[in-house]
Amino acid sequence: MSGADVFTMEPDRVHRSVEVLFDVESTVDRQTEAICERTATVADDLRDGGAALGPALAGAAEWWRLDRAGGFTGLAGHTGEYLATCAEEAVEVDRFNAAAFTAHADLDRYPGREGANDSARPEH
């Protein structure tokens, strides 16, 4: 990313964007976890019933949780952390990574997120 000739930022509005993104992230994670747990139970019953659908369903749900829903929440969280860092520094952060968030963001404002995107999420 490159810098810009025009630069306007209202850090508080950016922080509020971050809050929304983190909330979306946790909401999707939580609800995905719930549907996948329910799916695993049905998949087990199907597997016990000799149905080929059982193991396939279990695999599909896990894939959904990790790769697709997980991919989305990873991106939402990551972008949130980027914006949180930008807002805190009041400048654009050119070489952003998860460590930059840990180093520069207001972690008091986002408790529990330290290193959240370091290694817990798949890279894409």
Partner: protein, 577 residues
């Protein structure tokens, strides 16, 4: 592969499977609210240009937009089309077979029969008690009724002697019934395994080659996002190619949902750029398939050398369904448009043409021709379909009836080949898919669907119905050499809606090589009249007139048969004679 035993199928609770499907659907809707929050509250809200403006701000907004779009597509393609629909379709399919089992098992038990061969066995045989009752000349009442002997009443009853004389018939009758129940059980399990395997394949296939996710913001974002954007433009085409090639493992209902999920521009682009993938896919609406197939037919004709036999066949097909000015033609008999639903040149060649739009019709009659069809005979077979359309219009109630000629399988070329059931087995999945596609894309109230098989086409219909399952309210067998099963019960359609007929002249020389005669009482469906053309003649006049010999040579489908078929197709079965 599905290893479900009949006991496991019987005991499976499909309710939670369907409920889970509903839950995934609701989950997808709830998740879509979250992507909407990203768009409304972040991209257009707090992070709008009024509050954050720079090149990077534009990139962030774009990246969030791509992320939300991707998840919306995933929610549609995977959570809804794959997970929810697969679970609900599977629950419906397995419950339908459970209902059949619920009907069959008590019948087996109440007749002193049993399922043999352990959990994986589907043969039905006589219990020791039944064998013993026959051996001691005291067969049960139902068996006496079947054979037509009196039930012995006491040791000294003379009816015991009658049972002794008829012991072989009693055993044969009981074995015959056991075989029919065995056929029925195998059909149930075949369809259940098919539904289970299809569902498993759909679940597994979605993990194969999924589209990538948008890149993360960071140093390499600019480079990666260009690749991602260029991938997006070809994504729908890649998905369609996988669907058309069978790699996507989507059911016609799922294809229908996927197609509906595309934008109008995407659909138009796919029809224009890839008609060869759009045209044959069951689950894409008839109108779009017709447009694509006509374009692809033109391309195929252009690509073949003049004088090639296949090219001539394709030109004949095109001429039949196209007006002189190149626009789609309508049937001269009914005024209904011709719709080209598929064609191919593999083997004997294939052609699927409808007279009338099945998606908009109240009744759809799918006619499956038999031996010696193929692409070369397509226009001749279309003549017969055209007569069916004419008859349905004439005998109907004023509702719209579409008549489809489904030559979608590689049919046997001659009588020798027609003794083999492999053509029917190989075509079964295609016929199942076609009928499910009709159901998936039908508009308004569900149409009355009829499958009419002529000659070997009846073997095709029966085999597909008993092994894969078909969407049909009625099945009609005309001039059948057997339908791949010995009992109407195995077809997955109410026995009251199974019809069969055969003219006196309709002597299928290779006999009933594919199962019990479907016109017989033993088969368990309905027989309807198909009077021989000279039935009222005195018998000697038949031989006296030279034309009698002429008529007797041909398999004729006469007026009464055509009338009866039309009444079935148009939902007036009560008038069938």
């Amino acid at each position: 592969m599905s290893e479900m035993t009949w006991q496991q199928l019987r005991d499976l609770d499909c309710g939670p499977v369907r409920d889970l499907g509903e839950a995934w659907k609701a989950h997808a809707e709830a998740m879509a609210e979250q992507t909407e929050r990203v768009r409304a509250d972040v991209i257009e809200g707090h992070l709008g240009p009024d509050h954050f403006e720079s090149d990077t701000a534009d990139l962030v907004r774009e990246q969030l937009g791509l992320t939300a779009d991707r998840f919306d597509d995933d929610l549609s393609d995977y959570a809804t089309v794959r997970m929810a629909t697969t679970l609900m379709e599977t629950a419906d399919a397995l419950e339908a077979e459970q209902r059949e089992l619920g009907e069959l098992i008590p019948l087996i038990e109440s007749h002193g029969l049993e399922i043999e061969g352990g959990p994986g066995g589907y043969d039905v045989g006589m219990t020791g008690d039944l064998k013993w009752s026959i051996a001691r000349l005291d067969p049960p009442q139902w068996l006496c009724d079947r054979v037509g002997v009196s039930k012995p009443d006491g040791v000294l009853d003379p009816a015991r002697l009658e049972s002794l004389f008829n012991a072989a018939d009693l055993i044969a009758s009981a074995s015959g019934l056991a075989d029919q129940y065995g056929d029925w059980l195998r059909a149930i399990m075949s369809r259940a395994h098919d539904a289970d395997d299809e569902a498993a394949a759909a679940m597994s296939a979605m993990r194969e080659n999924p589209p990538g996710l948008p890149p993360r913001l960071g140093a390499s974002y600019d480079d990666l996002v260009d690749d991602y954007r260029s991938g997006l433009s070809g994504e729908a085409a890649e998905e369609l190619e996988a669907i058309a090639g069978g790699d996507a493992e989507l059911s016609p209902e799922q294809v229908s949902q996927w197609w509906e999920g595309l934008s109008e521009a995407e659909r138009e682009a796919l029809i224009e750029r890839h008609p060869e993938w759009v045209g044959p896919v069951d689950g894409i609406p008839v109108d779009d398939r017709d447009t694509a197939n006509r374009a692809w037919l033109d391309e195929r004709i252009e690509a073949l050398e003049p004088g090639e036999e296949t090219r001539d066949d394709l030109i004949r097909l095109r001429d039949r369904i196209t007006d002189a000015d190149g626009s789609p033609a309508s049937s001269g008999e009914t005024g209904q448009p011709y719709c080209l639903l598929g064609f191919g040149t593999e083997g004997s060649g294939q052609a699927i043409v409808s007279i009338g739009d099945p998606d908009a019709a109240d009744n759809v009659n799918t006619y499956v021709p038999g031996t010696g069809g193929g692409l070369a005979g397509a226009t001749g077979l279309l003549d017969r379909a055209e007569s069916m359309a004419f008859d349905a219009d004439r005998y109907g109630t004023g509702e719209e009836t579409a008549t489809v000629m489904w030559m979608g399988y590689d049919a046997p070329d001659d009588l020798l080949e027609a003794a083999d059931d492999k053509w029917a087995r190989e075509g079964s999945e295609g016929l199942e898919s076609f009928t499910r596609g009709l159901r998936a894309t039908g508009e308004g109230d569900p149409a009355e669907l009829t499958l009419t098989g002529h000659s070997y086409g009846s073997t095709m219909v029966g085999t597909a119905a008993s092994t894969e399952g078909v969407e049909a309210d009625n099945v009609v067998f005309v001039g059948s050499p057997g339908v791949g099963t010995d009992t109407a019960s195995a077809l997955g359609v109410d026995e009251d809606d199974v019809w069969a007929t055969r003219n006196d002249q309709d002597v299928i020389r290779y006999g009933m090589v594919h199962g019990t005669d479907p016109t017989s009482a033993e088969f368990g469906g309905n027989e309807f009249r198909s009077d021989s053309p000279r039935e009222n003649s005195e018998w000697w006049r038949f031989w006296e007139a030279p034309i009698g010999n002429h008529s007797s040579y041909w398999d004729e489908e006469n007026e009464i048969s055509r009338r009866n078929q039309s009444l079935i197709v148009t939902g007036q079965g009560s008038g069938v004679r």
